[in-house]
Symmetry: C2
Subunit: 463 residues, 2 copies
Amino acid sequence: MADVERYVTGERERYLEELQEFLRIPSISALPEHRPDVDRAAQWVAEALRRAGVPRVEVFPLEGGKGHPVVYGEWTADPAKPTYLIYGHYDVQPVDPVELWTSPPFEPQEREGRLYARGATDDKGCLFEAIKGVEALGRLRGAPPVNVTFLVEGEEEIGSPNLAAFMREHQDLLRCDLALSADGEMLSPDQGCLTIASRGLAACQIDVYGANRDLHSGSFGGAVANPLHALAQIVAGLHTPDGKVAVPGFYEAVRPLSPEERRDLASTPFDEKAWLAAIGVAEPFGEPGYSTLERLGARPTLEINGMWGGFQGEGTKTVLPAEAHTKITCRLVPDQDPDRILDQVEAHVRAQRVPGVRVEVRRFAGSARPYAMPVDHPALAAAARVLERLYGKPAPTARMGGTVPVAEFFRSILGTWFLYYSFGDPDTRVHAPDEFIRIDSIPRAVKGYYLLLEALAGSAGAR
Amino acid sequence: MADVERYVTGERERYLEELQEFLRIPSISALPEHRPDVDRAAQWVAEALRRAGVPRVEVFPLEGGKGHPVVYGEWTADPAKPTYLIYGHYDVQPVDPVELWTSPPFEPQEREGRLYARGATDDKGCLFEAIKGVEALGRLRGAPPVNVTFLVEGEEEIGSPNLAAFMREHQDLLRCDLALSADGEMLSPDQGCLTIASRGLAACQIDVYGANRDLHSGSFGGAVANPLHALAQIVAGLHTPDGKVAVPGFYEAVRPLSPEERRDLASTPFDEKAWLAAIGVAEPFGEPGYSTLERLGARPTLEINGMWGGFQGEGTKTVLPAEAHTKITCRLVPDQDPDRILDQVEAHVRAQRVPGVRVEVRRFAGSARPYAMPVDHPALAAAARVLERLYGKPAPTARMGGTVPVAEFFRSILGTWFLYYSFGDPDTRVHAPDEFIRIDSIPRAVKGYYLLLEALAGSAGAR
């Protein structure tokens, strides 16, 4: 412990310089004009892995070169020992609105102990910390105490469209005892947490069609169905007034929270008042009988993301519109299945039989299954001990409201669990202007990987 | 009768030439760049009235010259006789999409017995017929058999914003026994009708506000209220599922239809199947217990004209929007009051108390009171007789679904009734590309005014 502490403190300046080099590459995966930059970032990661001592490093083109490459690294210290895979990504979000950045997003700038740049936390910074953790093990011990592999993708910010196929094709390379995610966040800058679950996703659109053209509301209003009335009725029917999803069967596959899980979530530090104040909302609202943290992490939702039809300009237009639309996403929890949920939503919509209009339900790609780790997984206990040492406070479990499709890829394709073990601070403006990373948090996170891999070597492993 | 028939037939070519001159003036009141054209059209009307023999003609600037002028004409044949005021307008709708016109909208073209141009029917053609009817009375009888005044405005297509003020200011000039509207339509090219009512209008917008910004549906969904859910609930609550307006008190002031009025409406020729087929709708839908014609003309409505919030693009965006909006117009029938109706809508919306959001109701200007004439008004009987003579078929009564604010201005400001007596054919594409008038219908309509004013002179008048 004294060794690694002294070591990472001594490397601080080098870490900062290397990370800045990584952050200067504008690897925006969503924008075709940045393709050479995305490629450059992949090469940078490969080089960083080699520098860290990883003996086998390969860059795999995806989709015949049309996708952004996967960087694979493998350090087999002893074939008899367990293997831990570290997942991360080197691509970043676009920078718009660029005028809201205090300094240019790809010219990292240090201000008051923070380094500002796009990707500083998500995910270049967090990935960098994981690589440096493995590097530290090599420098201080000659090799990691377990086998380590890396899977670093360049398409996370565009929904990882080719990753599942890559994982299916390269199961031999990726086989591991546990995957560690270097993408994610801790509870606060002062406290770690163990994210044990992320929600799944199912998306669709409801289209309601009436007449063959927009009608004059004076000449037709009151005598033919209005698609906007029909849509409002359909949408209102998706929830009970008190906030439960009203789709029959929606909750049937939901694994109920055990009293222990509820106690656990209740003990997570969470300032609900501050959380509401930050978004300007007076009171929470959701499924009756559950706390806000339960509603966010452990219960499924059905949210309307958009709704539109007819006139949206200033003042009045007396139109009876020909069509009306709404977009829906459901966040799912174990053991809900996205296809089954969309079947149920569609059946419920059709059952409403609103007269005089035609109703269509379209499903969107991008479904993801929910993910949750068993709370008694030994790696969780090991990680909890490391986090408590690092932060000086116990690390509660947490459940992510959002969706990380890759978590479930590991489960379903490789049969392995996926441990969120990433040191992003939750206030670092990821995906937004002025993204940053706290410079002092970097050596701590490097130590975090060092200590966890050590601890996992000491435990029975995770088989 | 023989005289006037021979006369109007003989004038056919002159009518056509003069009307084409009128139609060549692009008097689009909505477009500021056409202001000189609108002025020119006002002068054209003034000149046409003088040519028709009207002794006093004046052009009144509106709103200190910022509005489009009113053309006033007065032919006092005998102060002891009743006075009939003819209302019409010389401004026209814009021509977009101009590429859909077969010939340029302000270069009138004759094709297959029709004259194509913007305003050919609405309202230059119909106004022209009224002026020519009075002209014919002068030419054949020296003077009209009653006193006739003209009120011709240039702002009808922009909602007559200054007309009520003008009417209040000039009550002395406008005092009359009955107003005749040269703006409106008949049942079909082959059959006249007596439009005895038009609906009123009340308009508002509902705005629903949640968080202070759009939220991530994964990080917040299910735990704070979604303005789109709240709006759907509010909008769905405005009607019962079977199509009645659910706002308490909404129907309380509605004058019930008498059995005679219902019989009357039921006898109006109306091909519901063809009407539905034209708009591509399979079945009618509306307030239970009423026919389509009753729903359109004699019952009030509440229609959603627009609704929007959140993401409207392609695919999925996992947003929980900060706000949601909807626009509403109600069509009103006697004796509903627009302000009272908006009070009731607002009270009903507020009574729903959807949790977690802030709801605002904004009222729009442009309210109009409903209008209906007593069915036993003697002028209706006189007009019915003239129309039966002209078309060779009885003229049923009809109720307009739309709103003509000026109808109620005459009632409330001048205390006079407003008789829809305009010869527009309902299929002439008013407000749309390729507007036209049937050339043969012009002499018939001129004769229509001639005969009605003669008939009204013979009756006891309409005091």
